[in-house]
Amino acid sequence: MMCLAIPGKIIEIEGKKVVVDYGSERREARIIKGEFAVGDFVTVAAGVVSEKVDEAQVAGWLKVLEND
């Protein structure tokens, strides 16, 4: 069972089109709804920007692991 999409970073926005950088590759996606900005980490489903990654959660993991 798969429940995983890797977050990428928005590096360009032009209207409803965005370019998402995954490190190893870049892909185009569309914004259907929501506010997104260059620098946001997002997941993409079916070519549509789906959700913004909660950076506080990422920071939480980093903090506990780095201090452990």
């Binding site: 798969m2 429940c3 993991w61």
Partner: protein
């Protein structure tokens, strides 16, 4: 522990709602599935067997082979690992050194928590292995946990009351990710 079918629906729902389902569904299809799963969880509506079967068909037959609970609490960690390798083109142990991949790996695998406070629609819970505290959404229709209970969670959602015995694979996965992140 809850009905396995409710657990499966909550497991998939939590992935869909967190935006991490990699099935390539468009927004409308994803929302439609979520409504079906939620109606079953919350109101005991009809089990969305056909949609679940379709979903499983797009994934793998692992749930059928191993049983839902066995899959979610054991086999899924291997799937997370293989998907990360596939998506990043790197070895898993290298890939998790990147913070976003670390976050994805740890959140996509099931986590275990001790409940520290209980609200109407969410709980605050302490991660068993890291001590990290976070809020988890409690879907209506699931068993309400009490203070001190050990529970499982997926992404931002509570799943069910569990026990430490069930968390063995989760601990091994967490320790592996942590060791590789710090190396």
């Amino acid at each position: 522990m809850i009905d396995e079918r409710k657990l499966l629906c909550a497991f998939i729902y939590s992935a869909y709602d967190s935006g991490y389902c990699g099935l390539g569904l468009d927004d409308a299809a994803r929302k439609e599935d979520m409504n079906l799963f939620k109606r079953f969880i919350e109101f005991g509506g009809e089990y969305p067997e056909e949609r679940i079967r379709e979903t499983q068909g797009k994934m793998t037959s692992e749930v059928d082979n191993s049983g839902i609970r066995d899959y979610i609490y054991r086999g899924h960690y291997e799937v997370v690992e293989s998907r990360i390798v596939e998506a990043t083109g790197k070895d898993f142990d290298d890939a998790v050194k990147e913070p976003m991949i670390l976050h994805t790996a740890l959140s996509c695998g099931i986590n275990f928590y001790e409940v520290v406070s209980v609200g109407e629609q969410e709980i605050k819970a302490r991660h068993l292995f890291s001590g990290l505290e976070r809020n988890l959404v409690v879907l209506q229709g699931l068993q309400i946990p009490s203070l001190g209970d050990i529970v499982s969670g997926h992404w931002n959602y509570y799943l069910e009351i569990s026990d430490v015995e069930q968390s063995k694979s989760a601990r091994e996965f967490f320790e592996r990710v942590k060791a590789n992140f710090k190396s």
